[in-house]
């Protein structure tokens, strides 16, 4: 067990999987000579050479498609997007080629490919560089989607993603690369589709993933000071999503707040709420609340940006609301 940053945990997963399987290769902008825009691929070019660590031009659609073609030809590509904001240009290849290839070929072409990169807002990067894409991507049948929140989960989920014979989207948290945590050495695998309780509690369930785990944990600390015991459930995977884990927690606490970085309309939280209302309706003591990014493009100004993001304070307020701890707001 070593203490690693999220970035180095991802680097370790890539290195170990490239050592394990010569068909695994990494491609993307700045992954080689530059050592990665976020240094996730540091040292890989030196270890594996330019055939397996491929610097691409800025051409997301093209190199994502070349990755898909390489997977059709029997390789296991890991395609890095400098950020998911740029991956939008490659959406045709992710959705129309990668996700559908197995199905429309009648099962002939498996698609063992990973698309990964940072997702979600960082700090003052403004509208076009501060977006959380998970609800777009998790909508698509034929894909798997993971969004690790800790260094250990980052390593374990990326290793699972690379070994998976299906297209897997790895949404890394742009603000998480520097966080540190204990990471098991060597063979550490986190199964795709399994949520994890990151903090046990009994009064309310805070459902979160990726960067919002930090938000939920801070909120749980503040709630503890107010004698509220919050359970923090980290989804880790968004497709498939761990329905039993969500239901089990809600059946215990009878109340839930769903926290996400994305916009509210048709978001991941809406899906979680649907699961809860469908299968745990009778267990609920209050309507489920959602905390999301404000329904606007991300502003540049610091004060406005802070107001737009999901914050522990907003989560605490929502938790108090589902616990009926505050008087109802006047209509």
């Amino acid at each position: 067990m070593a203490t690693l940053t999220y970035r180095d945990a991802l680097n370790q997963a890539l290195r170990e999987e490239m050592q394990r399987d010569p068909n695994v290769f990494l491609m993307g902008e700045e992954v080689g000579v530059y050592q990665g825009a976020y240094k996730v691929s540091r040292g890989l070019l030196e270890e594996f050479g330019p055939q397996r660590v491929v610097d691409t031009p800025i051409a997301e659609l093209g190199f994502a498609g070349i990755g898909v073609g390489a997977a059709m030809g029997g390789l296991r590509p890991v395609v890095e997007f400098m950020t998911w904001n740029f991956a939008l240009l490659a959406l045709d290849q992710i959705v129309n080629s990668a996700a559908k290839m197995l199905y429309m070929s009648g099962g002939q072409i498996p698609m063992p490919i990973v698309f990964r990169g940072p997702n979600g807002a960082a700090l003052q990067l403004s509208s076009q560089h501060s977006q959380a894409w998970e609800s777009w991507i998790a909508h698509i049948p034929g894909l798997k989607v993971v969004a690790p929140a800790t260094p250990a989960d980052a390593k374990g989920l990326l290793k699972s993603a690379i070994r998976d014979n299906n297209p897997v989207i790895v949404l890394e948290g742009e603000m998480l690369y520097n966080i540190k945590g204990d990471v098991p050495d060597g063979e550490h695998i986190v199964p795709i589709g399994k949520a994890e309780i990151k903090r046990e509690g009994s009064d309310v369930t805070l459902v979160c993933h990726s960067k919002t785990l930090t938000v939920a944990l801070k909120a749980a600390d503040q709630l503890a000071e107010q004698d509220v015991s919050a359970e923090v459930l980290d989804l880790r995977s968004l497709r498939p999503i761990d329905e039993p884990a969500i239901l089990e927690s809600v059946r215990k606490t009878n109340r839930a707040v769903v926290v996400e970085e994305g916009w509210p309309h048709a978001g991941i939280g809406a899906q979680v709420v649907d699961i809860i209302q469908r299968d745990a309706f009778d267990d609920l003591d209050a309507p489920v609340q959602r905390i999301t990014q404000a329904d606007v493009p991300m502003p540049y100004n610091k004060v406005l940006e802070r107001a737009a993001k999901a914050s522990p304070e907003r989560v605490v307020a929502a938790a108090r609301r589902v616990l009926y701890l505050d008087p109802s707001p006047q209509p």
Binding site: T56, F63, G65, G67, M72, L75, M104
Partner: protein, 331 residues
């Protein structure tokens, strides 16, 4: 016709031409039957026929090794047949039957046969061009020596994926042949109305790539040009852009009029005078390689094969309802 009187080289060439004639006739008769079946409602959705363009698929594929990759747009019935998918399996796919080459899940636009290196029909204009480079990338990575030929229409040249892919294929020296079938119209839009550069071969200059302009109404010309490109790909791992000028006699798809308002009936008739099948049949008769009786017998045999394909497709079962959820993910 006395083969013994010829040199072995001449005999081989005669056999090649006879094979090409047979394949072109097979495509023509197959597509005529597909049009009939479409009119009868046995084929649904979009159905893009290849009538008029037969020499392109036939000439190009004659230059390939059996294990070379072929990948196409949605106008791919011809290539699928020539790559060796049995006509029954292709027709059954058009009919959406369980015995189709994509188990009825792909349809006319998504024919696949991985065993034969036929990597699909793809439905988004230009979307499969990067996949072709990816297949070539995989072949080179694994030292397989397999070449990939990518068929696409002239309208795809205006798509970003075309330019991104040609650039990377050239930078990375991939064994891929970009074969543009210039049939002059993207649906109902004449190429010169929407393209600043109408000689598509010129695009190769931007990417430092070898290129050739080819008469697509002559299977032998296509064969010779493709052979040169294949040699360049196989021996030097260099890509080639081929602009093959051809003509489609039918509408863009079965739901479109034969000539519509975007071209004149006279123009279509003029092009039919350059028919690739009539041309090759005439040449072979002139050279004494086949006589009229031989031609008639060949046509009768092919018509019987196509009738048999229709019968097979008609009598084949629909996919089992459980197939709806299979082939979505692999283990």
């Amino acid at each position: 016709m006395t083969a013994t009187a010829r040199s072995p080289k001449d005999t081989a060439h005669a056999e090649l031409q006879l094979k090409m004639l047979r394949q072109m006739l097979l495509i023509r008769r197959f597509e005529e039957k597909a049009a009939e079946a479409y009119a009868l409602g046995k084929i649904g959705g979009f159905c893009h026929l290849y009538i008029g363009q037969e020499a392109v698929a036939v000439g190009a594929l004659a230059a390939l090794r059996d294990d070379d990759y072929v990948i196409c747009s949605y106008r791919e019935h011809g290539q699928a047949l020539v790559k060796g998918i049995p006509s029954g399996a292709v027709m059954a796919e058009l009919f959406g039957k369980a015995t189709g080459c994509s188990k009825g899940k792909g349809g006319s636009m998504h024919l696949f046969d991985v065993k034969r290196g036929f990597m699909g029909g793809h439905g988004i204009v230009g979307g499969h061009i990067p996949l072709a480079a990816g297949l070539a990338f995989a072949s080179k990575y694994q030292g397989q020596g397999r070449v990939c030929v990518c068929f696409f229409g002239e309208a795809a040249v205006n798509i970003g994926a075309f330019h991104e892919t040609l650039n990377m294929a050239s930078v990375w020296k991939l064994p891929v042949i970009f074969l543009c079938e210039n049939n002059r119209y993207g649906m109902g839009t004449a190429f010169e109305r929407v393209a600043a550069v109408t000689d598509i071969v010129e695009h190769a200059c931007s990417y430092d790539m070898a290129a050739e302009l080819v008469d697509g109404m002559n299977a032998l010309t296509v064969y010779d040009a493709t052979r040169r490109a294949v040699e360049r790909a196989r021996k030097q791992s260099h890509p080639t852009l081929l602009e093959v000028r051809t003509y489609r006699y039918m509408g863009h798809s079965m739901s479109d009029p034969l000539h519509g308002v975007y071209r004149t009936k006279d123009e279509v008739e003029e092009q039919k005078a350059r028919d690739p099948i009539t041309h090759l049949a005439g040449k072979l008769k002139e050279e004494g390689i086949i006589d009229q009786a031989g031609l008639d017998a060949l046509d009768t045999e092919i018509q019987a094969e196509v009738e048999e394909a229709v019968k097979f497709a008609d009598e084949s079962p629909d996919p089992d309802p459980d197939e709806l959820y299979t082939d979505l993910l692999v283990d």
